[in-house]
């Protein structure tokens, strides 16, 4: 479950980095069309994978429910970060991962 939460978050981060204006506000690396395409494809791929992981783990109906339920706060969180501290997005993603690892092992 925690892995799915992180993967959905990561997928949305990838999708947002695939967009022009968000890429500009976050990344310091020069704009590259292929890089953005890779991000977008990776993001959509990750979303699909987590969709099937959740369906496999929880059953079809509960899996879809969890997927939609996790997507909503993930999108909002990313939008908040992009608005207030866009440059910190990669750092926050790493910190989020560490926090989830700590929660898992408590």
């Amino acid at each position: 479950m925690l892995i799915s939460i992180y993967l959905i978050y990561l997928a949305f981060v990838m999708i947002c980095l695939g967009m022009d204006k968000h890429y500009k506000s976050v990344m310091t690396i020069k704009e590259n069309k292929t890089l953005k395409k890779i991000f977008k494809t990776l993001g959509i791929l990750l979303l699909t994978i987590t969709f099937f992981i959740l369906m496999y783990n929880e059953g079809i109906s509960l899996g879809i429910t969890y997927w939609i339920g996790i997507a909503a706060p993930a999108i909002t969180l990313i939008a908040m970060i992009l608005n207030y501290k866009a440059k910190l997005l990669p750092l926050i993603s790493v910190v989020f991962f560490i926090v989830l690892c700590i929660i898992k092992y408590i």
């Binding site: 429910t65 339920g69 909503a72 706060p73 999108i75 992009l82 608005n83």
Partner: protein, 531 residues
């Protein structure tokens, strides 16, 4: 053509939103709190707070089950789970009353549950309280309004919500490009983003909750199909529906060997509960012991975790075992119907009420509900923000009314909920009309919020009411600790449900304080402009 379509859609979105906006806000708030209806009722009954799950819980539950089975033929025992910290025992007593023909009829009454402490097995007598049920009923029946009328009012509000959502999608052309956009620096655009972002993020949830809300109010809004075919015979309609609803259930099989009926013992019961085909013992949520007269005794075991969304309150998945032969004689795996249409209907209704959800999944529904609250709230504020400049030139009564009602509804309902909880702690246990006093406190606080809104300058009134709400919410954990705790250690030894409540009160206070600080900034900016 598309651009010309957007203008009337914008008009429709604005008006379908603003006319019922306040009612929708209240419906969203009470609906979101209803996801934790049971927990709210528990919190409002301090007698239940001492019960904590321990190693004795399972044994105590078995003892109570056996004791109750001596007097009753149908005993239901519910073990503590993520949503409740007590053992509940429901024993059906058959009330035989003679009719004219001398036949004995069974009276179907609502059977009350007895609650036991999960650690000591003591009987708990919780006080009478309006609890989470008041907020739940308010959500779709409002209060003190005839049921059909209330259903119609809520139904119209729900239909307006559906229109608002769909027109919102139509007018928002850059729905995927702007999905992560939130511009807090710009005033009008900021409010628009604050309105759109939660909407788009929870779009599937919002469409589902609105449509399923309409389906739940079917009997009031669209009874015509049933009336055309069944006339006024609602019972026949409901009976046939029930048959269709469960037509996929296999009939229980009769055990091959009939063991002689001996006394119901703990060892035998343990054998069934630890049966290899049954659920994992840690996952047993409820077991029902039914002693039939001539046939054997059956034990129906229901798990804690639902395997699908079709697990309803009265229709959960279960496995039934014969107590003496230890054979599995029945298994229920919702959805129990063979009909796809009925299953689609059930899916919608089930997702709305989320009975299948344990505490964690319930939290996701709660978050989605909060997004709905933010959506309706920001929508109302956006209406005001967009017309502020126009109002400065030419004062409009409509603008004045919307401004004041916004304040009264939005901060008012939160103040009312805080007062409702505080009143629960202060009203004496022996008061006969506890429920009514709690509900009255709720409405009086809300009314004061409206009165205050109309008498004060709007921005200052916002700041004052938000600060009052902060004070009320921050005082709740303190009042709770003072009145409920016997010793300070109870702060962390109690069940996690009540710890989450304290966390919720603190978070609410912080959020309201944050909003109050934003309003404060606006007041300071306004004062600077005047100077």
């Amino acid at each position: 053509m598309a651009r010309e379509f957007r203008k009337p859609m914008t008009w429709l979105h604005t008006w379908s939103g603003v006319i019922v906006g306040w009612l929708l806000f209240a419906i969203f708030v009470t609906g979101t709190s209803s996801y934790y209806r049971g927990e709210i009722t528990l919190w409002m009954q301090p007698e239940t707070h001492k019960s904590v799950v321990s190693e004795n819980t399972f044994d105590i539950a078995l003892e109570k089950a056996l004791k109750a089975s001596q007097k009753s033929k149908n005993v239901t025992v519910t073990l503590p789970n993520s949503r409740t910290n007590m053992i509940a025992v429901k024993a059906e007593m058959q009330n035989k009353s003679n009719t004219k023909n001398g036949n004995q009829r069974q009276k179907r009454k609502r059977i009350p549950s007895l609650y036991y402490d999960a650690n000591t097995g003591e009987l708990i007598t919780p006080r009478e309280t309006a609890g989470g049920n008041f907020l739940y009923r308010f959500h779709f029946e409002l209060y003190n309004i005839p049921r059909k009328v209330a259903h119609w009012i809520v139904g119209i509000a729900t239909m307006s919500m559906l229109v608002a959502i769909i027109t919102g999608i139509i007018i928002h052309t850059r729905i995927f490009k702007d999905i992560f956009t939130f511009r807090s620096k710009d005033n009008t655009r900021g409010w628009m983003d604050a309105h759109i972002l939660p909407g788009v993020a929870t779009l599937p949830f919002l469409i589902m909750i609105t449509y399923s809300g309409l389906l739940l109010l079917n009997s009031a809004l669209m009874p015509w199909g049933a009336k055309a075919h069944y006339g006024d015979d609602i019972r026949a309609y409901k009976q046939e529906f029930r048959t269709l609803y469960t037509n996929g259930v296999d009939k229980p099989s009769i055990p091959q060997s009939r063991a002689t009926k001996t006394d119901l013992t703990k060892e035998q019961l343990l054998k069934v509960l630890y049966h290899k085909d049954s659920f994992d013992v840690k996952n047993i949520g409820r077991f029902i012991i039914t002693q039939k007269n001539n046939e054997s005794t059956t034990v129906e075991i229901i798990p804690k975790e639902a395997a699908s969304i079709f697990s309803f309150k009265g229709l959960k998945e279960s496995k039934t075992f014969d107590l003496y032969t230890l054979e599995q004689i029945n298994m229920k795996n919702p959805p129990l119907s063979n009909s796809t249409i009925v299953n689609v209907n059930s899916a919608f209704i089930s997702l709305h009420m989320a009975h299948f959800a344990d505490s964690t999944l319930r939290f996701f529904f709660f978050i989605a509900g909060v997004f709905g609250i933010i959506l309706s709230g920001t929508g109302l504020v956006l209406w005001i923000e967009k017309r502020k400049k126009k109002n400065l030139e030419k004062k409009s009564f409509g603008f004045y009314l919307v401004e004041k009602l916004n304040l009264g509804t939005m901060s008012g309902i939160f103040i009312a909920i805080a007062v409702y909880f505080i009143a629960n702690r202060f009203i004496g246990v022996d008061e006969l009309m506890r429920k009514e006093y709690e509900i009255n406190a709720f409405f009086i606080a809300w009314l004061f919020s409206y009165i205050h809104a109309f008498f004060r300058d709007t921005l200052s009134a916002w700041r004052e009411q938000l600060l009052i709400a902060v004070a009320l919410f921050i005082s709740l954990p303190l009042i709770n600790a003072t009145i409920v705790f016997d010793s300070l250690s109870e702060f962390y030894t109690r069940d996690s449900i009540f710890i989450y409540f304290d966390i919720f009160f603190v978070v609410m206070a912080v959020v309201l304080a944050f909003i109050a600080s934003i309003v404060n900034k606006k007041i300071k900016a306004k004062d600077l402009k005047k100077c």
